[in-house]
């Protein structure tokens, strides 16, 4: 129990002290995750929209698989990426293993299905509303996707935030492909895992609380950014 209070207290101190190592880790966490979310959104949202507007034979199957892929075990993703990027692997030549890039790749793979599924669900509802109009206006598939994505942006925000959440807290995959190398690929979650292994739960928790704080800040920031727009939608 004391560990938790201890953790809070340490988190507090860490923040005040602005420990450079900590800042470095925080910065890397944000850099990796935000990049991953951006890329995953660029893939996932159009994919979700596409699944909503396009009718094809194996649609239900595809959607089911997509939903299933939300369950991709990070460790497995990590392994596959590791194998692909390792020197003996096909992309070994790029020497990406144990770099932030590798971590981004892994996270993109993990959160894209999540973002795509949530987007699909959101867009599907709007599509039901717009369907007749957009057909009647003789829009192309791309134009439809464009309108739907644009006009359901509030819901898509949830998708992106879910992705952000999943990515910022993820450890299994980036531990393998990033290697948790100090000053190179160590991020908050891997640091937490490390301290846990050391049995220094208080510090681990401290880092954890900081991570949660960051997540909250990011969310609040995004919300207040989308606030103006939101107001007008009422």
């Amino acid at each position: 129990m004391s560990d938790i209070l201890d953790g809070l207290w340490q988190a507090f101190q860490l923040i005040l002290s602005l420990d450079p190592d900590l800042l470095e880790i925080i910065f890397l966490s944000l850099r990796v995750t935000l990049t991953a979310v951006l890329i995953a959104s660029l893939i996932g949202m159009p994919l979700g929209a596409w699944l909503a507007v396009k009718r094809f034979r194996f649609r239900r199957l595809t959607i089911a698989v997509l939903n299933a892929l939300m369950g991709l075990p990070p460790v497995v993703v990590g392994l596959v990426v590791y194998i692909l990027l390792s020197r003996s692997g096909p992309f070994g030549v790029f020497g990406l293993l144990f770099t932030p890039t590798a971590m981004i790749i892994a996270q993109v793979i993990i959160i894209t299905p999540l973002i795509a599924s949530i987007s699909h669900q959101a867009v599907r509802d709007l599509w039901a509303e717009y369907h007749d109009l957009l057909i009647s206006l003789n829009t192309s598939k791309w134009q439809r996707m464009g309108v739907l994505i644009l006009d359901s942006r509030r819901s898509l925000l949830t998708a992106a935030l879910a992705g952000f959440g999943r990515a910022i807290g993820e450890v299994g995959a980036i531990m393998i492909v990033g290697g948790n190398i100090d000053h190179v690929t160590r991020v908050l979650t891997t640091a937490i895992a490390l301290e846990t292994g050391k049995g220094d739960f208080a510090l681990a928790l401290a880092l954890g609380f900081i991570l949660i704080a960051i997540a909250i800040i990011v969310n609040l920031a995004i919300h207040s950014v989308s606030k103006t727009e939101r107001a007008s939608t009422w």
Binding site: Y82, S86, R87, S88, L97, F98, M175, I176, G179, N180, I181, D182, H183, V184, R186, T190, A191, L194, T196, G197, K198, G199, D200, F201
Partner: protein, 250 residues
């Protein structure tokens, strides 16, 4: 009728447990539930009384554990040894070193990439002590070549292979490690590399609920003729990994 024991990753990775546990079940009709964690976490589990005993290899930490009264006593069971693992290419020519100190010296001089577990595990503590022995301070090493990966033995080995780097591993973990790729043991045998495993029952005074008697029963078994013989004869690809050294009375 079961007991919880926290062990280090290296011990579990060795595969020895797969030999011992069934025997224990047979002889003592006792289910041993293994918690495979880092050394630090193992001690932590002991301190908070979530396990009945721990089996680790980090003398200093263990003695602290006893001093603080979380364990009743420390019983040495066996030892294996650490080995310096690296790519066959061996850029720092560790092969031809005469002692582990020499080996580390070469690596350092070459600034050859070296992976450190950096997780306060017994293995890492040993590694640090070795650096100290050539009066070098790892904290001051450049991350360019000295990679602190802060992970368990297996994960660190994976990283080392990925980085084509040298690493200090315990023999057992290395032999049971499948992702060896073009790596091999480059140096071993220096007495400085011996790695003592000890069994510590959690103190029932601190944690009344722990099954101390079972822990003692298990300890007795571990030091018994049969167990020691099993440990001594356990081997992977023709190589024995552990040397039993339990003193019958201590």
């Amino acid at each position: 009728n079961e007991i919880r024991m926290a062990v280090t990753t290296s011990f579990n990775n060795s595969g020895l447990s797969d030999v011992l546990l069934p025997e224990i079940k047979k002889d003592l009709n006792l289910e041993v539930r293994l918690l495979i964690v880092g050394t630090g976490q193992a001690l932590k589990l002991g301190r908070s009384g979530d396990v009945d005993a721990i089996l680790v290899h980090s003398k200093a930490a263990e003695e602290k554990f006893i001093e603080d009264g979380y364990g009743t006593h420390r019983r040495e069971i066996m030892y294996n040894d650490f080995v310096v693992v690296g790519p066959k290419a061996d850029p720092a020519d560790v092969k031809s070193s005469i002692s582990v100190a020499d080996a580390f010296q070469r690596i350092r001089n070459q600034r050859a990439v070296f992976v450190s577990r950096g997780d306060d595990s017994g293995t890492q503590k040993k590694e640090v002590s070795l650096w100290k022995s050539i009066n070098a301070n790892p904290d001051l090493f450049q991350p360019t070549w000295y990679r602190d990966v802060g992970s368990g033995m297996g994960a660190s080995l994976n990283t080392a292979v990925g980085l084509n780097a040298y690493i200090l591993s315990d023999r057992a973990s290395w032999h049971n490690f499948s992702n060896q790729s073009d790596f091999e043991i480059l140096f071993a045998g220096d007495p400085a590399l011996f790695n003592q495993y000890a069994f510590l029952p959690v103190n029932p005074i601190k944690h009344p609920h722990v099954q101390h008697n079972l822990a003692l029963k298990l300890e007795e078994w571990l030091v018994s003729e049969k167990a020691q013989q099993l440990v001594g004869s356990y081997e992977i690809d023709g190589e024995t990994l552990f040397t039993p050294n339990a003193k019958v009375q201590d």
